[in-house]
């Protein structure tokens, strides 16, 4: 088993250049998302989707950063990506075995297996995975599974000019991330915190293999404050459903026997 890999996206280093979006599209040869002017700051790709696997959010807030002298205002950037959850809703809900957990701990959709059923789409608590309109299959960030096979850094992290996207061994990334938060607190940036760095802080997903350092509430970045993998919620439901299925089966068998008996 290879070391578990992931992303640590430190939004305090992001300059909103979108190199990650393009580097991802280039490596994965993804099509455009349409050419729509949104008037939402500098964000015109809006969200992660079947053909946008990195997406930079632009947040204009009427709140100053505690370390910046620029009036009552700040502009936050955050490069969003598939979280490769430790408990992944897409993976657990995939009925075809298309979605797998790789040896690097990432969650990978096998395009040759996916049949486009879409269960994964509704089971992702982050709204990451999406089906492409033309072929119906589900697509998302692969953590550059192909590149990892040759020890190449994922395209987004490799090209990120300011090291906002860091790729590496999860243990190390988590350690660095915690130190980074302490360092930023030391510099007076009290609002810095980690999002999804481990199972303790985010039990609903078991922690994220692609986690973030944020400066405001998750909702501000269009991230759920308390994401829970739907399959987790579904456990109890599945249990009762299994009972019901069993009951129905018993009844069916009984009725068959009964019926047969009556016919006989």
């Amino acid at each position: 088993m290879a070391a578990q890999k992931g992303f640590f996206t430190d939004t305090t280093l992001c300059i909103g250049c979108k190199a990650c979006e393009v580097a991802c599209k280039q490596w994965n040869q993804l099509p455009d998302d349409g050419f729509l002017f949104t008037a939402m700051s500098y964000d015109n790709t809006v969200q992660l989707g079947a053909s946008t696997w990195r997406h930079v959010a632009f947040i204009e807030r009427p709140v100053a950063l505690s370390t910046q002298d620029a009036g009552a205002f700040s502009w936050l950037f955050s490069s969003d990506v598939c979280k490769h959850c430790a408990r992944a809703g897409c993976l657990e809900s995939c009925p075809t075995g298309s979605i797998i957990r790789t040896e690097y701990g990432s969650v990978y959709v096998q395009p040759d297996v996916c049949n486009g059923c879409g269960y994964c789409v509704v089971n992702c608590p982050f709204g990451v995975i999406d089906r492409r309109e033309d072929d119906g299959r589900a697509w998302k960030c692969t953590l550059c599974y192909d590149r990892l096979r040759e020890d190449m850094t994922p395209a987004c992290a490799k090209h990120c000019p300011t090291a906002s996207i860091q790729f590496g061994d999860l243990d190390e990334l988590r350690r660095n991330a915690k130190e980074r938060v302490e360092e930023l607190h030391g510099k007076g940036l009290k609002e810095a915190y980690l999002y999804g760095a481990d199972a303790e802080s985010q039990p609903g997903t078991g922690g994220l293999n692609a986690f973030f350092l944020l400066l405001d509430k998750p909702e501000v970045y269009n991230l759920p404050p308390d994401p829970v993998v739907p399959t987790e919620k579904g456990k109890a439901a599945w249990r009762s459903m299994a009972m019901a299925v069993a009951g129905v089966a018993v009844a069916a068998v009984g009725s068959m026997l009964f019926g047969r008996g009556t016919q006989a």
Binding site: Q26, R101, D146, R149, M152
Partner: protein, 208 residues
């Protein structure tokens, strides 16, 4: 239940990808792979298709890698151009560059599309005076036509002296704009040729 589900997945997978699980013997049967690999829920490697198992970056198949420089701004980030069968298959940042350490900005990262995209014209086009459409003409003919026009413009508008009797040795009938996106060697030939022709109105983006 799990066994049934796995069998269904395997069948599904075979059907879709034509991987031919059956042909690889009993040990490759997903249930056994699951048990062997400790992947009890079948959510990991045991569900990997052959394509997945053989997945590799396309750069692995490159015949050669060529050192280059980003063509956009003047930071001068290093690029590596990967080639296979004399076609560009990937352009990445060059980690060895002290300027860029392997990084590229979005424009630099789009270089692959810039140089391989379908937007590029590959034929010479000609618009005749008052014409409403482009016409195709061969490269050699077009260059002949341009050279002839340069000669004509130069000959018709050659300036020997100005009205104060000062030497001019030039023509103001031609001008050129561009160079900031070109190579030093190209700028050198452009300046050298135009100066020898007496063309002084040679300018580029540095003026803007």
């Amino acid at each position: 239940m799990i066994v049934v589900e796995m069998a269904r997945r395997a069948a599904d997978s075979d059907h879709k990808s034509g991987n031919g699980y059956a042909g690889r013997g009993l040990f490759e049967w997903p249930v056994l792979r699951q048990l062997r690999d400790g992947d009890l829920f079948g959510l990991g490697g045991s569900a990997a298709s052959q394509r997945t198992r053989e997945l590799a970056p396309r750069t692995r198949s490159a015949d050669r890698v060529v050192g280059s420089v980003c063509p956009y701004c003047a930071v001068g980030c290093g690029q590596l151009v990967y080639l296979k069968n004399e076609r560009i298959i990937d352009i990445e940042g060059d980690p060895a560059s002290p300027i860029s350490n392997g990084n590229l900005c979005p424009k630099g990262a789009a270089t692959f599309q810039l140089v391989t995209g379908s937007h590029r014209e590959s034929r010479v086009l000609y618009r005749r005076p008052h014409g409403k459409e482009w016409e195709r003409i061969p490269l050699e003919q077009a260059m002949d036509m341009v050279a002839e026009r340069m000669k004509k413009a130069r000959d018709e508008h050659w300036e020997v002296k100005n009205d104060k009797g000062e030497p001019l040795r030039r023509t103001m009938s031609m001008a050129s704009l561009g160079g900031a996106t070109l190579d030093n060697e190209e700028n050198y030939l452009i300046k050298k040729l135009f100066t020898a022709l007496g063309v002084v109105q040679v300018e580029n983006q540095a003026r803007i």
